[in-house]
Subunit: 335 residues, 2 copies
Amino acid sequence: MYRMICALLLSAGIALVTGPKLIAYLKKLHFGQTIYELGPAHQKKQGTPVMGGLMMAAGIVVSSLAFHPRKWEGAWDFILPLLAVSLLSMAVGFADDWIKAVKKRHDGLSPWQKIAGQVLVAAAFSVYCYFNPAVGSRIRIPFFHAEWDLGIFYIPLMTLLTIFIVNSSNLQDGLDGLLGTVTAVSSSAWAMISLLILAVPSLGAVFGADGARVTGVFAMSMVGACLGFLRYNRYPAKTFMGDTGSMLLGGGTVAMAMLLRLPLLLLLTFFTPVMSSVSVILQRYYFKLTHGKRIFLMSPIHHHFEKKGYSETQIVSMYAGVTLVLSLIAVLSIL
Amino acid sequence: MYRMICALLLSAGIALVTGPKLIAYLKKLHFGQTIYELGPAHQKKQGTPVMGGLMMAAGIVVSSLAFHPRKWEGAWDFILPLLAVSLLSMAVGFADDWIKAVKKRHDGLSPWQKIAGQVLVAAAFSVYCYFNPAVGSRIRIPFFHAEWDLGIFYIPLMTLLTIFIVNSSNLQDGLDGLLGTVTAVSSSAWAMISLLILAVPSLGAVFGADGARVTGVFAMSMVGACLGFLRYNRYPAKTFMGDTGSMLLGGGTVAMAMLLRLPLLLLLTFFTPVMSSVSVILQRYYFKLTHGKRIFLMSPIHHHFEKKGYSETQIVSMYAGVTLVLSLIAVLSIL
């Protein structure tokens, strides 16, 4: 338990302490996000440095390793993939941010480059989970205390899921403090889920208490990193996490869920990012089908709410509330 | 577990549904909070109806009774005092709000009337806990897995604690969405603590799994009520909870903590309200000692932050982050 507490505090501390220096450094490099042209009235945000997500990466990596439970011999089988998926997902986003912000090329990575990077990471991780005896192809069905053996289909399905979650996280990152707040709450849920698995013998037998010990520390590092980052990202933001940060958080979240064999719970804990993706997809297909009509005033759906007259802070508060409700339900669902 | 989920959803639903009608009714009665004269630039808030806390009371009472675990024969020994402390604390606040807002008498209850009401409630509840065999005079020391038998001193100490917490809650309620957000997070922590006690046999043996079943449902009702209420209270607020709401939330929180024999954990989960009280006390004594100097630009401390240039939403975000960190630590501390 002390490891989880220390991971939380250290991670928040690292993000808080590295924040000002990182922001100054990013500004010095003339990093400024090129604001997406269709965004409603965000032009004032021009000049806010992106890639602030790096401070979260520092917090997560250092504190999840510093308080890593080394005694369990399979522990590295959990922490290394967690960090690998997070950091490699981040690397894709980082490349995109770097090209846009430093090289000043508006287009960033090509869609195919981005998707190729993501597929590689997602497929490798899914194969890894499939062959890891502590994970395997059997996922848990929340609420029903049942398992579902996906067999070899585990690999393509989980590859798609990983890509979907990382991109959902990326799409949700459009308002000050939004994704950071949502991820702080949802990661708290993953920490509580890990804790229950650790502390309740019957759950430990099903999910594996040792793995939960690792995900618990990792989840708490994520909570700390998000909260530390929010100090600089809440409205009005001094820095944005960028694709760097959003893909890091998406990668870390999906990796925890898959290692705990609870990928289906992402529909609850990560509902609002998933909804961001779904709103984009619905909007696009509806637009094509109807030759020009729209469901939402703008997608992802948080921009729809903005156009409806909600302020950024109201939308963040709404998303946080929804995430808290669904996260509590997610925690309860495993019992 | 299903009871807890249902309590959360029903309570949020009740607050959401009753909200608009309650607000319209309160406005019709010409309720408008008389803004505290020294508050920084809150004059625009004149005319926002107070006593919006009543929608939370409706949510908490209905859903904690609807999903009350009746099978355990001692269950009523837990739910009745929980509701009694919440509602009687609320009654004191309600009387104050009513006199100020409806009777338009600026002074409300006299300090002595207020404190007399609170002492009565607090003392009666402390005596009740002392004699309830499932509670008694032994409180738990978090982190140390130890107990501390306060003996007969339990009664005066817990009376003071109850009064202190209810008033802390009341003092913190000064910014849009502040106390509602903090209480939503801290009540989530009490729900998770109850859940652990329920699910982990060794904790159940120490704290009593049956009582935790009741506090779990109650805590989830509180989370739901706060989140539903925040829909109308987040910045810019359409209604304030008033003393009605803040004393309800303070009373409910302290009652849960005492029934679980974990009053010391209030220092973590309810840290920011406690800090509000402490800042007022420090300010007052420092002012007297130094004949006119101040520690804070203004107390309670959230007004200090406002004077320092933080916006309301920034302060809410900061308090929520601190509460989330300390709440996670509180949950972990009982293991």
